[in-house]
Symmetry: C2
Subunit: 342 residues, 2 copies
DNA sequence: ACCCATTTTGCATACGTATGAAAGGCTGAA
DNA sequence: TTCAGCCTTTCATACGTATGCAAAATGGGT
């Protein structure tokens, strides 16, 4: 790899000081006289020297690398998370090592093993679950884990998520208040806490209004599977008058099927609501009513959780549940006769 | 960090062999007897030992980390690239360390310095430029660089890109063949080779048909700026009858403005074409005619280029230019009177 | 049993860096 | 001028691992 590697020993030689002085010059909180510092600065600049982060990690036990596991970036929500999380950590002097897992999380344990090989200072799991065996392993290694937009029962796992249940509840309340009486639900991946909590909140909201779920499908967080679920749900004569789709990504698919395959009007014939408020939800083509996840705050809490765990070690796992925001747009409307004359 | 770190010395002690034997057991191509191997395997398993990749890098000069610089993940094209590139490299035993740069690339040099601190085995620059000074630095360090979807004149920089110029040309030819005579163009970021080449090909195609560019705007690869550019382009009475938008991401914005703000029909009043064929281009809401970039082949070529450079050192920079594919969808149609009666 | 060629093993060292401890240098007060 | 306290520097070592080299072990042939 390095044909021309400059080390702290080269700098020390040129500056006429010890390697130890060079190291201290580049280590915050240590003492170097002004005179020595200037000699080192000049030598380092002349030779183009920068400390080797990996060699440092051997001594300090800190790699300044955070492992990030994501299952897919197809859903606009996660690219935004990756981008913001990387930036936020970059600002803290850390960098993100990306690992791609499968949607069903069946290879997360293997991937986490690989992550640990890199002596990461922490791990963020976005849209993935971790076995308790691996959670124990990370805990024993002192590597903090933060679940992003997921919850697990393991007390060793910190988590930052939106209040998915309250979000689902709010969407049910909204649809009921708009006069909807036959509400359907299209689920994400059944093994995900986000899917479970959103559905739970939604059903609770319906129940509070004396309703039950009118129809249910499964989209597995995939555009094509959500399309298929919508086709099935709307195949017969008994159709929902509103659909809560577990996330925006799938909601776009459902909307596309309803409009372009079935010739239905949204919200005239059926209201559609999603969850996330990813960019296309705001685009006029979709104009989707949804729950906005506050990605900035989630990222900030994730970084804060990681930094605290890294700094203080042990510590109890931290769970942060942030409120989402109901954003009402053009995919929902009052279900009244006047609605149909527009 | 590690409270309970298991080293090869621990394994050696338990197995009753030397640390050297443990190391050889975990290093491909070295010799260990079956008897010794079994003792080491059992000890390593009992202790949960895995080699420390970072410590290894000190000896081998190989970190098995690839630095990836991306400017934004807002455009659906790049999340897909990150995902596939990460997977492809993961399969080769490498992992991607992500760095987020700004769109205008003004901080790429600083970021590249940081990347080099991690002793990366290679760097991929997606949608970013690198200064020749830094290119020289990487070259001196023996770190191969591959530009992804970008071209630069520096002979030290390998690149993998689509034939953007031919793609732009093909789109011009298509629009002309469909009878369009007033073709507009909305540019991406002016400092990007993709933007320059796509526009160049488009203008060459128009010129070959005896036409010139009817109108031009700049969208800087941003949804909101593309919206503004569309509003300006269609503000007066002299409007284009077709628009080539430099990438799909911006094309969606232009389509949204034309339809929902100006009440224009696509393709009845104006045809719109993009570049990339990102997932929403295939969605019925957009149904966009575009040039498909073969991401799988681009990723494969990028990985092949990196692996070759890492394995063989020096080597001449490699430039791979792949053909895109014209995908004709519902955003374009024949511009005839019969068109207007539908 | 002996010899030879090959495989296997352990020793010693190095990779690039940070750090504890001891020694040296500097500064201010008596 | 001397002394005490604090700052600065260097030496020696360690971090976890791979590898060159010499010695030991192994297996096959005579």
């Amino acid at each position: 790899m390095a044909n021309d590697k400059v080390t702290s020993n080269d700098v020390a030689r040129l500056a006429g000081v010890s390697q130890s002085a060079v190291s201290r010059y580049f280590t915050p909180g240590t003492s170097v006289s002004k005179k020595t510092a200037e000699k080192i600065r000049a030598a380092a600049e002349e030779l183009g020297y920068r400390p080797n982060v990996l060699a440092r990690s051997l001594i300090t036990g800190r790699s300044r690398i955070i492992g990030l596991v994501v299952a897919y970036l197809e859903n606009y929500f996660y690219p935004e998370v990756v981008e913001r999380l990387s930036k936020a950590l970059q600002d803290q002097g850390y960098h993100v090592l990306v690992f791609i897992s499968s949607i069903a999380s069946e290879n997360v344990d293997q991937i986490t093993q690989e992550i640990l090989d890199y002596q990461v200072d922490g791990i963020v799991l976005a849209s993935a679950n971790m076995s308790s065996e691996l959670a124990a392993r990370c805990h024993a290694s002192g590597v903090p884990i933060v679940l992003f937009n997921r919850l697990q029962d393991d007390v060793r796992l910190s988590a930052v998520t939106s209040d998915n249940r309250a979000g689902g509840r709010a969407l049910a309340d909204l649809l009921v208040s708009l006069g909807h009486t036959r509400c359907g639900y299209i689920a994400g991946f059944e093994g995900a806490s986000t899917q479970r909590d959103r559905e739970q909140g939604f059903c609770e909201g319906l129940e509070a209004a004396g309703l039950t779920l009118f129809a249910r499908g499964v989209g597995n967080f995939r555009y094509d599977e959500a399309q298929a679920a919508a086709r099935r749900m709307f195949a017969g004569p008994d159709r929902p008058d509103a659909v809560f789709v577990c996330n925006d990504h799938m909601a776009f698919a459902v909307m596309d099927v309803l409009r372009f395959e079935l010739g239905l009007a949204i919200p005239g014939d059926v209201s559609v609501v999603g969850f996330d408020d990813v960019p296309p939800a705001r685009w006029p083509a979709y104009n989707l009513t949804t729950i906005r996840q506050n990605v900035d705050d989630m990222v900030a809490e994730t970084v804060a959780t990681l930094m605290q765990s890294i700094k203080e070690g042990e510590g109890a796992a931290r769970r942060v549940i942030l409120d989402g925001t109901l954003v009402q747009r053009g995919s929902t409307a009052q279900k009244t006769p006047t609605d149909e004359t527009r």
